[in-house]
Amino acid sequence: MALALVIDDSSATRMILARILTELGYSVEKAENGADALHKLSKMAKPELILIDWNMPVMNGYEFLVKARSMAQFDDVTMMMVTTETEIEQVLKALEAGANEYVMKPFTKDVIDEKLSLLGLGAR
């Protein structure tokens, strides 16, 4: 089963995204912020997909993205921002830092599924 990591400081959003990804056939790990995610990534199997909130305490999603993309072992991991940031400058900034896709909150299961289909990672 493909593995995904959900990073969001909201436990409700983590739960919703985990449920959606589980329904799409993923096994899901969760982290509360970027630093927590880096710690978990050092211990867990490499995920195929990481969903990243932007605004989080300790280490935000953009900082995590930059850090993770600097690590060669995550080159082939698909990273998608899922955030309340809706300005075009933020979308561009995330893409230039190595995000593969960008979802603006609020979202539905269809939105996540359609974005993953674009990336060739639809329902498993």
């Binding site: 993309r69 080159d75 082939d76 991991v77 698909t78 809706t86 300005e87 075009i88 979308v91 561009l92 995330a94 893409l95 230039e96 830092a97 190595g98 995000a99 593969n100 896709e101 960008y102 979802v103 603006m104 609020p106 979202f107 269809d110 939105v111 359609e114 974005k115 289909s117 674009l118 990336l119 060739g120």
Partner: protein
Amino acid sequence: MALTPGDFTFLSNYVKNSTAIVLTPDKDYLVESRLNPVARRLGVSNISDLVSKLRANPSPTSEIGMMISEAMTTNETYFFRDVKPFDVLRSELLPQAIERRGSDRSLNIWSGACSSGQEAYSIAMTIKEHFPTLSTWRVRIIGTDISRAMVERTKEGIFSQIEINRGLPAPLLVKYFSKVGSEWKIKGELTSMVDASVMNLAGNWPILPRMDIVLMRNVLIYFDLPTKRAILEKVVRVMAPNASLLLGGSETTMNVTNEFDRVTTGTSFYYRIKGGGASSSSPSIGSTPTFRGTPVAPRAGLR
């Protein structure tokens, strides 16, 4: 107030006659949910009174008639819907059409039942991204829909955040859209490629240009068999020799008309008029722009 059986029968016959959309009795909830907003817009207190008003003026060209017909159409759509048809468009149908039309450097692509325009603009973005040589061609993407409101939305090219979240690759969002307040406006270089107009597929058709590619996806499912057959036989007459037709994933010409051959390509398919003879070569045309640091996005054609 709920619809009476008599009112439902009158409405379903009216909608069938004006749009060919078939409303079976189990769709009473749908009729009520779609017509309540119409009643409110017209200042009518309930659907029963709305039906009375329609009975008094049942012309399909009356304002109330058109509002009811438009309300009963389904406008579900999103950018690059189902992904695979756009892969086929990029890898086969457009290269073949370009080869066929090289002498007159002109292409007509029809988005039938275009709703709010996401399909037409997905075609436009595919062309812009992958076929830069077409910038010197006369390319018309013709979007038609029965709903005046949807046609106006297609012409405006303005989408909500919910709509741009659906199926639109983020690199294309930043490249072709600008944010206006809380909405997103598609750039003029794409709106200028799309001509939108009102057309009832089940009614009399206006004069249409010869189409090189026809997309008529997820619309025939709403019609009965004779209507599907009549529409597809009219589609044949507007298709250029060797043109191609894309239907929705759950739609087929099988048992509807024998005019088409189904062409399977990978896990997707499209249709050609029987005896049209598919072009055998698919020249590689255009470039594929990339974003630094985006390791995958092959299905969106971004890398």
